[in-house]
Symmetry: C2
Subunit: 364 residues, 2 copies
């Protein structure tokens, strides 16, 4: 099992290292079949595996791809990371994992380091509108795939993006609630800075306006503007939102669109703190459709992201040869999200404001 080199294979097959290298790199048309077979046999018998470091030193790049997610601790990103890794194995690649914790500076450092370390491509899950902060490495030829962030007008040409249509998602969520008869629908999110969040909100607004209602009448909650959030924090945002929306003096929503499932789950927890029942007292719809959505009590209505499909697409682009700055024009793939109705959304209960107020009083 001591490491076997291309030289040893060459000797065993009675050829030069160059010829073995040719086999390794798919240029076996340059030799007679008998030679090729001898080499194949030698490789198999010696259990030869080319040394990655040597290859990279020579060629500049590896088969590794970098995956930068906000935090794998968040079940959505965990599930995505899993699909990416599975797709990577299928493509003969490895995955270097990075948690940006939604810190733009960390993101930048990761991207630069990954690039300098010779990754083949990077799948960057970012919410930042501009890619200027990493334009230097993109210009140098980095094959960048952004995920959960559709292509933006100012993006470098070579950048590929894979995302769902967040506008449609937001629209679907609001429409569902409107159809159930809700007219007081809150939008709950930690921060509206990111492009996908903004798109979800616009979709939400479109549906509201189409229904002849006024968006400005809807309660909205976007606290914690500055707080970075991973897994715990996303839920904490929802929990805080529930407390704020249902203990203040403002009009209370009968339904809520949460920016993602973790926030929705946190919101549910917040309602529980106040003695309110999800589905019965307040309808809630999440976003992402993580595994936990179906497990929750009541099971959470959500907007599903086709995560496996997206991971496969992102991976394909990340390892595609014809990428890099200046070659082909970047693509932007926008997948359609899907409404998954469960039990956290129901028609509004015929009730007066007092009931809720009393329940809240009782819980305090």
């Amino acid at each position: 099992m001591a490491k076997v080199t291309i030289q040893q294979v060459a000797k065993a097959a009675g050829v030069s290292a160059s010829t073995v290298s040719n086999v390794l790199n798919g240029r076996s048309d340059r030799m007679v079949q008998a030679t090729r077979e001898r080499i194949d046999k030698a490789i198999a018998e010696l259990g030869y595996r080319p040394n990655r470091a040597a290859r990279q030193l020579r060629n500049g790049r590896t088969q590794t791809i970098g995956l930068v997610v906000p935090s794998v601790g968040n079940p959505f990103w965990g599930a995505f990371a899993r699909e990416i890794e599975l797709a990577a194995v299928a493509a003969g690649s490895s995955v270097l994992l990075c948690n940006s914790e939604r810190d733009p500076d960390r993101e930048r450092r990761y991207v630069e380091e990954l690039w300098e370390d010779g990754v083949r491509g990077i799948i960057l899950c970012t919410s930042l509108a501009s890619l200027d902060y990493i334009s230097n490495v993109i210009d140098e030829g980095l094959q960048l795939v952004t995920f959960d962030r559709p292509a933006q007008p100012g993006d470098p040409e070579s950048v590929v993006s894979v995302s769902i249509d967040n506008h449609v998602g937001g629209y679907l969520a609001a429409s569902h609630l409107l159809e159930l008869g809700h007219t007081q629908i809150a939008f709950v999110s930690g921060s509206i800075q990111s492009v996908n969040r903004a798109a979800r909100y616009r979709g939400f607004c479109s549906a509201i306006e189409e229904a002849g209602l006024d968006v400005s009448d809807m309660p909205m909650w976007t606290g914690f503007e500055t707080l970075p959030f991973g897994d715990v924090e996303a839920a904490e945002v929802g929990r805080k939102a529930a407390h704020d929306l249902f203990t203040g003096d403002a009009a209370r929503p009968t339904a809520v669109v949460a920016i993602n499932d973790m926030t929705a789950l946190g919101f549910c927890r917040g309602l529980r703190d106040l003695g309110l029942k999800v589905g019965e007292d307040v309808s809630i719809i999440g976003f992402d459709d993580i595994v936990l959505a179906d497990l929750y009590d009541p099971p959470l209505t959500s907007i599903r992201q086709p995560i496996k499909r997206m991971a496969t697409l992102a991976m394909e682009e990340a390892v595609s040869q014809d990428g890099g700055a200046g070659s082909e024009v970047g693509r932007s793939v926008l997948l359609r999200p899907q409404l998954v109705v469960r039990e956290s959304t129901r028609p509004p209960k015929a009730r007066n404001e007092h009931e809720v107020a009393n329940a809240v009083e009782g819980a305090r």
Copy 2:
């Protein structure tokens, strides 16, 4: 930004590449301070970063560590992977992510590939009792840290393990339920094959017997013996268990110890299918204390694993120099788990069997 080499730094500093290399590798005692400062300055000005591939080719190993988890899609492993990556960054390392999907063959292939690709160490989250299947690479000097799998008698000496004391965990879980007054306590798990599962079960049994009860009276559910499980499957196990335990003719438990939180959550979902209330009708305690446990309705009582601490420890061992076969004797760190009481466990309800039976009938 074009790549700058050690040669360029050497020229800029007016020394040889060897001397720069000495600085890079902490041997700056071999030169006068003025030289050292010139080199430092040149490095900073040129923005030099040593080429990883070249280093690895020369030295044989990288700063990268391999992380093999069953599936990052499972929130527990996702949370763990996050902590590992955070610790890795702090230690100047990168993390190569691998999902074994609990497939021993995948595990082996990953470990071998990671080793051949020159990782510095591997953190292997496995449930296999024997490490024979990878003993070849361990003998070659691999710094292996097993997680969630305490050291076993036959393990190679160099192997380090970081885990909680699963026996204590199982004991804590059962004791809690016994103290609440439960006497019919089920143990629910997908498969009892793994060492930590077996330990949890033994702890469970100890507590039962100490209370003067007979373990053989307790219902136990360990279906899906052969099913590999990731995130979805673990929950599915719990759900199936709930159906089996509460629709059959056998005596029904008033409380349940689940092998982990995902299974517990699945069990809760199963109870809901049957119209039973968690906490009220049946008490449930999970294991791991994932973020979702606190978010659930009702919040799930669980046995907490000190995940951050464990990740830090595992990382320290994975990058420790003094490891490898034949050097120091392997360590085995066993941390104490902690009972976190929430609302899914309560004293058993005074009720007759009919109530439950009727509720179940109604749900079908």
